[in-house]
């Protein structure tokens, strides 16, 4: 008992730093990804499977239109976006779990800033999904993808993927805070996984019927994939880079304050 009481005084007096708490919660979120078989499947088996399916199964049946690219070269950048987006979207489920499972109450009675909880989920998601996307890229190389990127191109590729994961994770946290069940939170993955199909990612947009084609050409995934294709294959990017960057920045700038406001509402009642 004496020992416990001494600790009490010590614990009560010690102040932590926001960055230290954030680090501990990021480590916790990443630990979740290594301790279950489910998580390993999502993080490693999924990207491998998606890549194999696209390159082998669809590869023979889809023509790449006027781009003149091999299908593998045409498809890999888009599949990377799918992998990154799918993983990022799962952040919605993690967020909903924190809120509905009661963990948020535990964290809120600790002497830490409550904002560190969603922030840690987003940062952990970026770390995890950039790594996952790296795995998917390695698989693509094994399957015959031959990237031609310059060193600067590689750095920018990593930045674009990280930016996309950040934007999607921020939106996912917002969605996870809007819904009241983990099932509903899971629906976000579906949207994020489906969006690339309606872009110039899997099938060239020029082969789509009118309205669909207009949508495909103007939705954010198309310039994003164009940018990655340009960087990885060392081809001209044109305006796609700026358009993609604007979409990603816009998503973060809109989602973050909305999520923060929603989080404050859900934690003050």
């Amino acid at each position: 008992m004496t020992a416990m009481t001494t600790t009490a005084a010590a614990a009560a007096g010690r102040r932590g730093s926001g960055a230290g708490d954030l680090g501990r919660l990021i480590a916790r979120a990443l630990r979740h990804e290594t301790c279950t078989v489910d998580a390993l499947i999502v993080n490693i088996a999924m990207p491998v499977a998606i890549m194999v399916v696209f390159v082998y199964v669809f590869g023979g049946a889809i023509t790449t239109g006027s781009s003149g690219l091999e299908y593998i070269d045409f498809a890999v950048p888009g599949v990377l976006v799918m992998c990154a987006g799918y993983g990022a979207a799962l952040t919605a489920v993690s967020m909903a779990e924190e809120m509905t499972g009661g963990m948020i109450d535990r964290f809120r009675t600790l002497p830490i800033g409550a904002w560190t909880v969603p922030a840690a989920l987003v940062i952990a998601s970026v770390v995890r999904n950039v790594a996952t996307t790296g795995i998917a890229l390695a698989v693509a190389v094994v399957l015959g993808f031959r990237p031609d990127a310059t060193p600067a191109g590689w750095v920018l590729t990593a930045a674009v993927v990280a930016g996309y994961v950040l934007a999607m994770s921020a939106l996912a946290v917002l969605w996870g805070l809007m819904v009241t069940s983990t099932q509903a939170a899971g629906a976000f993955s579906f949207v994020v996984l489906f969006l690339p199909y309606l872009s110039d990612t899997v099938v060239p947009a020029e082969t789509m019927p009118g309205a669909l084609r207009a949508f495909a050409e103007h939705q954010p995934i198309t310039p994003l994939v164009e940018t990655l294709r340009g960087l990885l294959l060392d081809r001209p990017i044109g305006d796609s880079g700026w358009i993609a960057a604007a979409w990603l920045a816009g998503a973060v700038v809109v989602a973050t304050p909305l999520a923060a406001a929603r989080f404050r509402r859900r934690t003050s009642a």
């Binding site: 008992m1 004496t2 020992a3 416990m4 009481t5 600790t7 009490a8 010590a10 614990a11 009560a12 010690r14 102040r15 932590g16 230290g20 708490d21 501990r24 919660l25 916790r28 630990r31 979740h32 301790c35 279950t36 499972g101 009661g102 963990m103 109450d105 535990r106 964290f107 809120r108 009675t109 600790l110 002497p111 830490i112 003050s268 009642a269």
Partner: protein
């Protein structure tokens, strides 16, 4: 002595449902207050307000001398909470859970590890320490949750139905831990459905009903307050018991079928020998003959039903 928890006139409504209207509580430092009340009476709501999880609509409260509404940061540095719903990370092991929380109390890596080990031993979790909490039994999760709320060695501890779901041995062990904490000066607010638990542990008992504290006193005083002895009439069967209760009620007697007990029993507070004669006369005239008549001292159950019967009726 300064009070560790002090609440005045706490009010809270959820939409149109008014849950608390004017709750007053005082818990002197180093004592245990048991908060009793029927389901939905607002025990958890009160605990959530005092632990800064919920904002009251009105009234004031201080915990450890800090205002819960304005000085939440300071309050959080001196409290621990075991919520009614267990809040541990199912994907982490028991040890990882405790080390995480110790880190968030800023204990430092070595100290965090030592503290986690100490609590695992104390709550009999050493053999399961390195298994995922999601694979724990209900009682083990409960114990891990309790350990987690003690990681920061709080001066003031809130336990919302801490022994629900524990087996008798675990319950006895938790009681021992609670007594130790009290002896070392910790202040505890505990909610419970078990009156014997309150009777065993509490310095004071507050009964919450209809959004207000309807009684707040030492266990012995509360028992005295509901009158002297209880008269227990055992009848031939349920129907006879119902008739007996009806006959007595018609004559203004406060007789009731013992809830939770044998349905062929009727219980009432007894005020002296004349009262006993009158009760037996009434039954005799109505042609209801009790099989057996017993006298016993009032229990906290009697207190509870007495104090909350207005709402139940």
């Amino acid at each position: 002595m300064e009070s560790a928890i002090h609440a005045r006139g706490l009010r809270k409504a959820f939409g149109r449902a008014r849950v608390l209207h004017g709750v007053d509580l005082t818990v002197p430092t180093g004592t245990l207050l048991a908060l009793l009340g029927p389901n939905g009476s607002g025990k958890t709501t009160t605990v959530r307000i005092l632990t800064t999880l919920l904002r009251a609509d009105g009234g004031t409260a201080t915990v450890g001398g800090y205002d819960v509404a304005r000085e939440g940061d300071r309050v959080r540095r001196v409290i621990g909470l075991t919520a009614q719903q267990a809040t541990v990370d199912d994907l982490l092991t028991g040890r990882e859970n405790l080390e995480l929380f110790a880190g968030l109390y800023h204990l430092g890596r070595r100290e965090a590890r030592r503290r986690a080990q100490e609590l695992l031993e104390r709550f009999d979790l050493t053999t399961a320490a390195d298994r995922r909490a999601g694979a724990y039994s209900g009682g083990m999760r409960r114990r891990l949750d309790l350990a987690a709320s003690m990681v920061g060695a709080p001066r003031i501890l809130f336990l919302d139905e801490p022994t629900t779901g524990l087996d008798p041995r675990s319950r006895a062990e938790l009681w021992a831990v609670i007594r130790e904490l009290l002896a070392s000066g910790t202040t505890i607010l505990l909610t419970t459905q078990y009156l014997d638990e309150a009777d065993q542990l509490a310095d004071r008992i507050a009964v919450l009903d209809g959004g207000r504290v309807v009684a707040d006193d030492a266990p012995a005083a509360l028992k005295r307050q509901v009158g002297s002895e209880r008269l227990v009439l055992r009848l031939a069967g349920d129907e006879d018991a119902a008739r007996a209760a009806a006959v007595l009620a018609a004559q203004g007697e406060d007789a009731r079928r013992s809830p939770g007990d044998d349905p062929s029993e009727v219980t009432l507070a007894l005020h002296g020998p004349d009262h006993l004669r009158r009760v037996l006369d009434l039954l005799h005239r109505a042609g209801v003959a009790p099989e057996r008549v017993e006298l016993r001292a009032p229990t906290l159950d009697d207190v509870f039903f007495e104090l909350t019967k207005a709402v139940a009726a």
